[in-house]
């Protein structure tokens, strides 16, 4: 995971989606994700994907941003569904010996991959157009307990530091011979347990210092007010338009699904 973390989450540019107030944006995009998750017919998938890609275009996020983030989860989902066209369904499209490509399995794989891509791209739109801190503030304003938002912020803040610390410790371990010296599996496991243990220990000791510093700054003493509501739920023509279009599109997907189910 450490190597897969990306630092540039928020893309600083000017687009309608960047100007969209955070709270309605969060709620609208989550509704869209759930509407996509409701799709059960593969014919609806291209509509969902097209709509999401149009939204991505409006967000003016670079394609490299999408590509960098899609690679890892994309390979994962492909590995998961690649077996479906060969084992699921009755209608054989192509056969060679015991190996047969089946229509129903192929459609199911397409449905799963399509839904996955549409939801994931929607998530990237949210992340690329909204600073992470604003997402947390919006969640807090929606009633998420402060303990959860505080923990999320601290975890996020130290994630990169701890990843770098682990990389340094692994390098030091390598310099002491791990991976180069002849070792039994048992010895290697002891080294790795000590590595993870030390990482936990350092994090624990650091957390004591962080807590003392937070207490000195008044943490737990006063209830911090929510930030200025302006960026969170300001009503502007852009916000109204974006919220209306996204929710309308999500509702259309659900409606199409219902109509197809009754055909």
């Amino acid at each position: 995971m450490a190597t897969a973390l990306h630092r540039e989450l928020y893309i600083r540019t000017d687009s309608a989606l960047h100007r969209w107030a955070v709270r309605p944006k969060l709620l609208s995009l989550l509704s869209l994700m759930f509407a996509v998750a409701l799709i059960r017919h593969v014919v609806v998938v291209p509509v969902a994907l097209l709509g999401v890609l149009v939204l991505y275009g409006f967000a003016r996020l670079p394609l490299t941003y999408l590509w960098q983030r899609l690679t890892y989860p994309g390979l994962f989902i492909l590995a998961m569904v690649s077996v479906l066209p060969w084992v699921s369904g009755e209608t054989v499209l192509w056969q060679s010996g015991w190996l047969s490509l089946r229509l129903e399995g192929l459609a199911l794989a397409g449905l799963v991959v399509g839904r996955f891509l549409a939801i994931l791209i929607t998530g990237f739109i949210l992340l690329g157009t909204t600073p992470f801190l604003d997402i947390l503030k919006a969640l807090r304003s929606l009633g998420l307990p402060s303990l959860l938002t505080d923990m999320t912020l601290l975890t996020y803040r130290y994630l990169y530091d701890i990843a770098e610390q682990l990389a340094t410790m692994q390098q030091a371990m390598g310099l002491r011979g791990y991976g180069y010296r002849r070792q039994t599996t048992r010895q290697r496991w002891r080294w790795l347990a000590a590595l993870l243990g030390t990482l936990l220990l350092r994090s624990y000791e650091r957390s004591q210092r962080v807590y003392r510093a937070m207490r000195l700054r008044g943490y737990g003493q006063v209830t911090a007010g929510l930030p200025s509501p302006d960026r969170l739920y300001r009503t502007s023509p852009t916000t109204l338009m974006a919220t209306g279009c996204t929710l309308g599109f999500a509702a259309s997907l659900v409606l199409i699904e219902i109509l197809i189910s009754h055909l």
């Binding site: 995971m1 989860p73 549409a118 936990l200």
Partner: protein, 217 residues
């Protein structure tokens, strides 16, 4: 072992969120009963970050290597705080690297978090065990149980969700065989996770026993 977006129906995702909401309410209530709930927040947050980074460490199991899930260990070390730690970890993984998903966050939290809470209970057995056995033995046995059951129960929930929600085109026999095969494949992983948790507990017992005592809630 996360369920990505798009795999399971929206109804199951909504059910996962409902169960997660209920568990979060209960867990936060338990945490708030402690003397100073905010005191353990930085500790839980930094340890959660360390756990999620630590789960990327390759563990050699010749001829391959595996990644640990560490949910049992999280439950054993963080107690009630393991639930918010897992929930936040899954949220960040879904957002930052697209691992898991936002629609499946509830289901994944139940899958990883409930076994962690059970692992917390199992790790408490070190006290009655410690009355009869030397402390390192009691710690090792309780740690092994917590680590192994953490991943074992998570695997059970994972395959349960997948098998009961995926394709109607699969025959019952195919489903049963797939479930059985995958469950059997997870037994060695349970042993690995349990053994590694034991080693880690013994390391922490030698170096910083305080970390094993303060369970934050």
């Amino acid at each position: 072992m996360h369920i990505p977006d798009g795999i399971i129906p929206a109804q199951v995702c909504a059910g996962g969120y409902a169960l997660t909401g209920l568990t979060t309410w209960y867990v936060l209530r338990q945490i708030r009963r402690g003397p100073d709930p905010s005191e353990a927040v930085p500790k839980a947050a930094l340890l959660a970050a360390a756990f999620f980074i630590g789960s990327s460490i390759n563990i050699p199991v010749p001829p391959v290597s595996v990644h640990l899930v560490l949910n049992g260990l999280l439950g054993a070390l963080l107690g009630w705080y393991a639930w918010p730690a897992i929930l936040i970890g899954l949220f960040l993984q879904a957002l930052l690297i697209g691992h898991g998903g936002l629609t499946t966050l509830g289901v994944n939290a139940v899958m990883m978090g409930l076994p962690a809470l059970i692992a917390r209970g199992i790790f408490q057995l070190r006290y009655p065990l410690g009355a009869r056995l030397p402390l390192p033995w009691a710690l090792g046995i309780a740690g092994f149980g917590a680590g192994a059951l953490g991943i074992g129960l998570a695997a059970l929930i994972f395959f349960g969700v997948i098998v009961f929600t995926i394709p109607s085109e699969f025959t019952l026999t195919t489903e049963r065989n797939a479930l059985l095969g995958l469950m059997v494949a997870h037994i060695p992983l349970m042993l690995i996770e349990g053994t590694f948790t034991t080693l880690l507990m013994l390391f922490l017992h030698r170096v910083k026993p305080e970390l094993l005592k303060s369970q934050g809630g």
